[in-house]
């Protein structure tokens, strides 16, 4: 745990709350679902130490179970040579056989239980008082009602007040008390009561307070984490609430005193000192156990068995360089791993096209306000705070209503009418949807983010502002952004007549986690607006003139076209096609066909993972089935999102255009020749580490401990207040990813492969401490590929070391035979 001021032995309520905010799950409300490292609080430690601390303290499982590694070894997923090498490197060559024996054969005892909960658990074990059952249902209900964004028919009466103030007001006005005892109510209503007072009543010894509060808050880490997240970014709730973790802790402490008073009368005392002393200290360091070492060795071998194939792949020369060709069109995609295969198919259909990857907001950061929107939506990576606002001026989009999702069906009087009228209609609707799914008004659709016909106000007239935000961009501001993006991906000359900027989004039905499927670089929204805005900028004559001054000459005939790729449906929508010149229009029509075929083939490749789609049927049929998944009520896996992601390639397309990477790679284009000093590489890596690394680690930890770090199965989930899901009605919130999203994921840390000289890469990552921490502490792995020789070196303990991959990718003419025959991961292949 990182914050330096926190010292568990000298209790300060504010510091403990601060530390808790840091350690609790940091997931924002569902509509802003953004992937992050689940164990970010431990990132200041080396990966191995960080995950061990998290595991010992909170009982998380942080690596796969021993059985799974042994099984992977038996099936050949873990390579024996690599295993021996890894053990040798970690433990010394002399000890390899000893460790191998432990790893393969030794039986280990169940590890000792985690320490979290042991102090507060004294109430249950020694006093037979189950505080959780007495306190949680009330606490959760009150919190959910206070924070509710629109499920309840009758809103919380004092929602504009801060949490405690609102609760006190409600308590004051109501003739029925929330509390079970007089003392509980008095303590709550007395403004003089402090958390320290309550802790004194419950525990008595201040050096144990911090541990008690950790026990208390980690007994419902979902709710506490949500409160902390809302406190840190209040704007994440459209209907804002002023709540702090401190208030919630205080409230819970009162509820605990109240529960004890109710169960034991006024006879009870603080926890017994003799018992307190027996409880192990939560914050104490613990030595590493042999089982933990064994698991970590297994895991390294598991990862390196994969890394070696990727490094072996990029080490292999590319026989058919695409760079030099005369390009028919260029297409810039998001770096998202889901675009990896579509780019391969495009290049396959049109050997003269060239594709790039850049974070899906395309370097244009702004808030977006649709027609009639009461709020704005941030369309750029979450940590960025834009100064610009883009207005949607007009649209042809119409919102469809669905009375079944309307809460009035649940009230008494309108419910009486609705159940006798609409009720019968729902029988029909259900029957239709079960046998022949149709698009629902409740569905999330990527194309619904912005209509194709919508008009945007992109250019600012004068210095118009709304609040602090500038209304649109000036040509100078546009030119800076366009230049930065183009330079960072290495597209500075040889422009094709058409350059496509392709954002992405996803569509799903009946899916509370819909935002997790959209573009992370656009804060969990579709990238359509960004793509259009970027194109409008790049097509702007003033902007072009400014670019020309800086040495980027875009031919006049070249036009940028924005588009949106729906990754669930494998459909594409192009924007502003009417603005195309006749010549470009003709070329575009040809390209549209190329896209069409590539998308169908992409859908077929994805379908190999889906149980109920027959990949062998004809392309149209497969595509139709894939599309249907996005509108089916009963499909918990509309697409598989980032599952299986494992690597991130930062370099020219020709570094990997001859490889089959099985949709497991994020791909950020970068040309070392344009950027010898690493000035453009720096922002790329600064974004790659938290964005791709964050996605990767969220999948990692949700996969290894789906119950505590993930959301468990989504099938029983219940929507709470529109901001989270829980199991049943009394459960804790479930942050993290549901099992349906991670079940095919292989937990390997992200391997970032950068095509540049190692000294430049080293200097680049050291420019910024936060970025360097990711690499130094091994939360993502880093390798550099020599741009000229394709020699590989791996970053380890602060330096690059030469690495000679043992893997030589198998050359295949056509990957179809693999795609149609395997549903598991396919190794890196060389496409001949």
């Amino acid at each position: 745990m990182s914050s330096s001021s926190f010292d568990p032995n000298h209790f300060s309520f504010e510091e403990v709350a601060q530390e808790l905010r840091h350690v609790l799950p940091a997931q924002a409300p569902l509509k802003d679902f953004i992937h992050h490292n689940t164990l970010h609080a431990f990132q200041s430690f080396h990966f191995q130490d960080g995950i061990r601390m998290a595991s010992r303290r909170f009982g998380y499982r942080v690596l796969l179970p021993l059985k799974e590694y042994r099984n992977a070894y038996a099936t050949g997923r873990i390579n024996r040579d690599i295993l021996i090498r890894v053990v040798g490197q970690q433990k010394g060559l002399d000890y390899v056989s000893n460790w191998m024996e432990c790893m393969v054969n030794k039986n280990y005892e169940t590890p000792e239980p985690p320490r979290i909960g042991s102090l507060r658990g004294l109430w249950k074990h020694h006093y037979k008082i189950d505080l959780d059952s007495l306190v949680h249902p009330i606490l959760f209900r009150v919190l959910c009602n206070y924070l509710d964004q629109g499920i309840s028919v009758w809103n919380f009466p004092y929602k504009d007040m801060g949490f405690l103030k609102a609760m006190r007001q409600l308590e004051l006005d109501s003739t029925v008390s929330l509390f079970r005892s007089k003392r509980g109510r008095e303590l709550f209503m007395n403004p003089e009561t402090t958390a320290d007072d309550l802790l004194f009543l419950l525990i008595g010894r201040s050096e144990k307070y911090a541990q008690y509060l950790f026990d208390q808050q980690f007994a419902h880490q979902g709710w506490s984490g949500m409160v902390a997240a809302i406190q840190l970014q209040p704007g994440t709730l459209l209907d804002r609430r002023a709540i702090t973790l401190e208030e919630v802790i205080f409230f819970e402490l009162v509820l605990e005193v109240d529960a004890l008073e109710y169960m034991l009368g006024n006879e009870w005392k603080a926890l017994d000192v003799r018992l307190l002393d027996k409880v192990p200290n939560l914050f104490e360091e613990t030595p590493i156990s042999e089982l933990e070492e064994t698991l970590y060795l297994w895991h390294l071998a598991y990862e390196w068995s994969y890394y070696d194939t990727v490094l072996g792949g990029v080490h292999t020369p590319n026989p058919a360089l695409r760079e030099q060709r005369d390009h028919s069109f260029q297409a810039i995609f998001c770096i998202d791993d889901r675009e990896c295969s579509l780019r391969r198919y495009l290049e396959n259909e049109d050997p003269n096209c060239y594709t790039y990857g850049s974070p899906g907001f395309f370097g244009v950061e702004f808030y977006f306000k649709p027609v009639d929107g009461k709020f704005t939506t941030k369309l750029c990576p979450a940590p960025v705070n834009p100064k610009f606002l883009i207005y949607e001026v007009s649209t042809d989009a119409k919102r469809k209503r669905d009375l079944h999702l309307d809460k009035h069906a649940n009230s008494l009087h309108s419910g009486w009418l609705i159940s006798q009228t609409l009720g019968f209609w729902s029988a029909l609707k259900l029957a239709i949807n079960v046998f022949n799914p149709k698009f629902q008004p409740g569905a999330a659709s990527s194309f619904g983010h912005m209509s194709k016909q919508a008009q945007l106000q992109i250019e600012r007239k004068g210095n118009e502002k709304e609040g602090d935000l500038l209304l649109g961009f000036s040509p100078e501001e546009m030119a800076v952004r366009v230049e930065t993006t183009l330079r960072s991906i290495g597209l500075v000359n040889h422009f094709a007549p058409l350059v496509y900027i392709i954002g992405h989004g996803a569509s799903s039905t009946n899916n509370p986690h819909y935002a997790a499927y959209d573009c992370g670089a656009c804060s969990g929204r579709a990238g359509s607006v960004n793509a259009r805005v970027f194109c409008a900028m790049a097509n702007h004559t003033v902007v072009r003139a400014l670019l020309e001054k800086n040495g980027i000459v875009i031919p006049e005939a070249t036009q940028f076209v924005g588009a949106l790729h729906d990754t669930t449906r494998d459909e594409i929508e192009f924007f502003d096609e009417n603005d195309l010149s006749t010549d470009c229009e003709l070329k575009h029509q040809k390209n549209v066909n190329v896209f069409h075929v590539a998308l169908m083939k992409n859908a077929r490749e994805r379908s190999r993972r889906f149980n109920n789609v027959h990949s062998e049927s004809n392309l149209e049929e497969v595509h139709k089935n894939v599309k249907r998944r996005s509108i089916t009520l009963f499909e918990p896996r509309p697409e598989l999102n980032h599952a299986t992601n494992a690597t991130c390639i930062v370099g020219r397309r020709d570094l990997t255009s001859h490889l089959f990477l099985d949709r497991r790679a994020f791909m950020n284009s970068f040309d070392y020749r344009v950027d010898p000093e690493g000035n453009y590489l720096f922002p790329i890596l600064r974004a790659v580490a938290p964005v791709c690394g964050g996605i990767n680690l969220e999948y990692f930890f949700s996969r290894v401990d789906n119950q505590k770090l993930g959301a468990g199965s989504k099938l029983p989930h219940n929507v709470m207040g529109l901001f989270a899901v829980a199991n049943g009605i009394d459960g804790d919130l479930r942050p993290g990813l549901p099992s349906q999203m991670i079940e095919i994921h292989e937990p390997v840390r992200l391997l970032v492969v950068v095509e540049h000289f190692e000294d430049v890469v080293l200097r680049t990552i050291q420019r910024d401490n936060a970025t360097y921490e990711w690499f130094k502490n091994d939360w993502v792995k880093l390798a550099a590929v020599h741009p000229e020789t394709r020699d590989v070196s791996v970053f380890n303990n602060g330096e690059f070391q030469c690495y000679s991959p043992s893997y030589i990718p198998m050359a295949v003419d056509n990957v179809d035979s693999f795609i149609l025959n395997y549903s598991d991961n396919i190794p890196v292949l060389k496409i001949a």
């Binding site: 499920i151 003739t175 880490q221 649940n410 729902s426 409740g442 009963f634 009605i729």
Partner: protein, 623 residues
């Protein structure tokens, strides 16, 4: 039409159930298609049958199918009945089960309990069909028991988490109350008609009014027993709070159970027994009061619910309250219509409930108003705040159930600590010896003394099962106490009245079988797993699934589930309690409630819940 056509509607899902049991658990396709196929066939046959029936003049059909036991003045038989009410409940139920089966076929893909889910769903469907097609209370009771068990299994579907198990036990206990209502109604109607009356006979109003006119008090009691059962099953006041808590299983199972079918069975029971209480104004007023109270309370709670499933659950309970009122007013057709609409609506609402996030967030984005004025805005502040607080606390319904229902049992059970199991059994032996010796030496002991003895024994039997229910550690003691409870009950009844011992043997056969096998399973488990004390959940089903299944069947046998003759025996035993022995009847039925609870508690504690083996493999208690 063939004579046993109605029985086919039960046999088809039962066969489907048996088939799916035999399919290996990874063969999802075969499991799903067998389930879907059997429901589809049943649904189509039902449609065909219904149309045909309407063309033939819509005369109610009574079908006596299987005689299970008969003696001189007593016959226990399976009977099916078909009229407008069965038709509507059966067709709508089959239609919804059909849709949900199809829905779940894909939705449940790769879920660990795929097979278990479809097994339970078919089992539920069979139980539902038995209940809605039943032609007498005995048959209805069989369906009732099926529903209780399948409901427990579906709520506890995620059996390695704490809350589903806790809530499954809670719901089961409420259902158990309902079961006893049926048993008491059965007992009373035996005495009212002197035989096992069929619904067809009930429909003959002259017979009913004749019987009722002679025993009006019995009539009221029957009506109350039925009302309690219907209220428990349909989540009416004061039982309402179990309904949202039952939403722990996968969404489609919540939709079909607690959204639509299971929860409307109280309505069905009232419709079915309508001729019985139609002429009793007391009963009608009571039904209306329960309905109205529920409509207001549940409707009020629904308004402040901020989780979607809880809101739908309370919304639905409130509508069922209105249906109760409609029934009390005698508007049976309106009630049937309302039932259909509510069942369809809630099923669909629950199935699309995950969509609320994307839909309502979008609505909020475009239509947000900082403060929406609901009707409460016009109430005085003090009243509004009070109602809001009551809404949050669910009108203390859940706490009241705990305080007035569970807690007293626990308190009494713990007060009995001085009575060790051994002393209790000793006491009973003494109690038995006295009258038996009397019996041998002096034939002329007065009837009332015998009755007092039998009441005393039944009371001790209740104490035994209470002890079992509150036992914190010794699992074997808890188990044997339940078995002894049954023995004590049967002896108590045989002291009460001289009758053929064969009734006792029928009653005790299943008990003995279940008791002994169950004991063996527990002993074997203790050898293998070590600690099986009752002070916590152990989750052994994960490691010993076969033992768990066998033990579950033993529990069923011991609780009088219709898989052993004990089920018939239970009814027989009750038949020997006289009409005026209300105390004895209450003691024996308390035994039955508590038996079920004690058994399900033993099963849940030993086999379900988070695994004791490693915390690292289970979820948090609160999740």
């Amino acid at each position: 039409m063939a004579n046993h056509f109605l029985a086919a509607f039960i046999l088809i899902p039962l066969f489907g159930f048996a088939f799916t049991l035999a399919i290996p658990k990874h063969n999802e396709k075969a499991i799903a298609w067998t389930s879907f196929g059997s429901v589809l066939v049943n649904f189509l046959l039902a449609l065909f049958f219904a149309v045909n029936w309407m063309f033939q003049g819509s005369n109610a059909i009574d079908e006596r199918d299987l005689l299970l036991y008969s003696s001189d003045n007593y016959a226990f038989f399976i009977d099916f009945y078909w009229d407008k009410i069965s038709l509507i409940f059966f067709i709508i139920g089959s239609f919804l089960v059909l849709l949900v089966t199809r829905y779940s076929q894909y939705y449940m893909h790769r879920e660990a309990g795929y097979k278990r889910f479809f097994n339970t769903l078919l089992f539920f469907y069979a139980g539902y069909s038995i209940a809605v097609l039943s032609g007498n209370i005995e048959t209805l009771f069989i369906g009732w028991e099926f529903l209780g068990v399948s409901s427990f299994l579906l709520i506890a579907f995620y059996r390695d988490r704490y809350l589903p198990i806790k809530n499954a036990v809670k719901v089961f206990s409420i259902y158990r109350v309902g079961d006893v209502g049926v048993i008491l109604a059965m007992w009373l109607s035996h005495h009212l008609w002197g035989e096992n009356v069929t619904f067809a006979q009930l429909a003959d109003s002259s017979g009913v009014s004749h019987a009722l006119s002679e025993h009006s008090l019995v009539g009221v009691c029957i009506a109350i027993a039925i009302l309690v059962t219907a209220s428990a099953k349909s989540a009416q006041f004061p039982f309402t709070s179990w309904l949202p808590r039952a939403m722990e299983g996968p969404t489609p199972s919540s939709a079909i159970f607690y959204g639509s079918l299971s929860v409307h069975l109280g309505v069905f029971l009232l419709l079915r027994t309508f001729p019985l209480w139609e002429s009793q104004s007391t009963a009608r007023i009571l039904i209306a009061v329960v309905g109205l109270t529920t409509a207001l309370v549940a409707g009020g709670i629904a308004r402040v619910q901020s989780s979607i499933k809880a809101q739908i659950a309370y919304g639905s309970a409130a509508q069922i309250g209105l249906i109760f009122i409609e029934l009390a007013l005698g508007w049976t057709n309106v009630a049937l219509f309302h039932f259909a609409g509510n069942a369809f609506l809630r099923t669909y609402q629950l199935l699309v409930s995950p969509s609320t996030v994307s839909y309502l967030i979008r609505e909020q984005f475009f239509d947000f108003q900082p403060s929406v004025k609901t009707i409460e805005y016009y109430l005085p502040k003090r009243i509004a705040s009070t109602f809001y607080m009551l809404g949050i606390r669910e009108f203390f319904l859940d706490e009241a159930l705990y305080r007035f229902f569970w807690h007293p049992f626990k308190v009494i059970g713990r007060k009995l600590n001085f009575l060790t199991g051994f002393r209790l059994i000793l006491l009973i032996v003494v109690m038995i010896t006295i009258p038996v010796l009397n019996h041998f030496f002096n034939q002329n002991v007065s009837q009332s003394v015998m009755h007092a003895f039998s009441f005393g024994l039944a009371f001790l039997a209740v104490l035994m099962v209470l002890k079992s229910f509150t036992e914190r550690r010794q699992v074997f003691e808890a188990w044997w106490l339940v078995v002894s409870n049954h023995v004590a009950v049967s002896i108590a009844i045989s002291l009460n009245e001289n009758y053929s011992m064969s009734h006792n043997w029928i009653y005790l056969s299943g008990i003995a079988l279940g008791g002994i096998i169950g004991y063996m399973v527990l002993r074997k488990l203790k050898q293998r797993a070590g600690n099986i004390n009752l002070d916590r959940f152990h989750g052994y089903v994960k490691y010993y699934p076969k033992m768990a299944m066998v033990f579950f069947f033993c529990c069923l046998a011991l609780s009088g589930f219709p898989i052993t003759p004990t089920f018939v025996g239970e009814d027989l035993i009750f038949g020997h309690i006289h009409e005026n022995q209300v105390g004895l009847a209450i003691m024996v039925s308390l035994s039955f409630i508590m038996d079920g609870l004690a058994l399900i508690r033993i099963f849940a504690r030993v086999f379900l819940g988070p695994s004791v083996r490693s915390v690292y493999e289970s979820s948090y208690r609160s999740s």
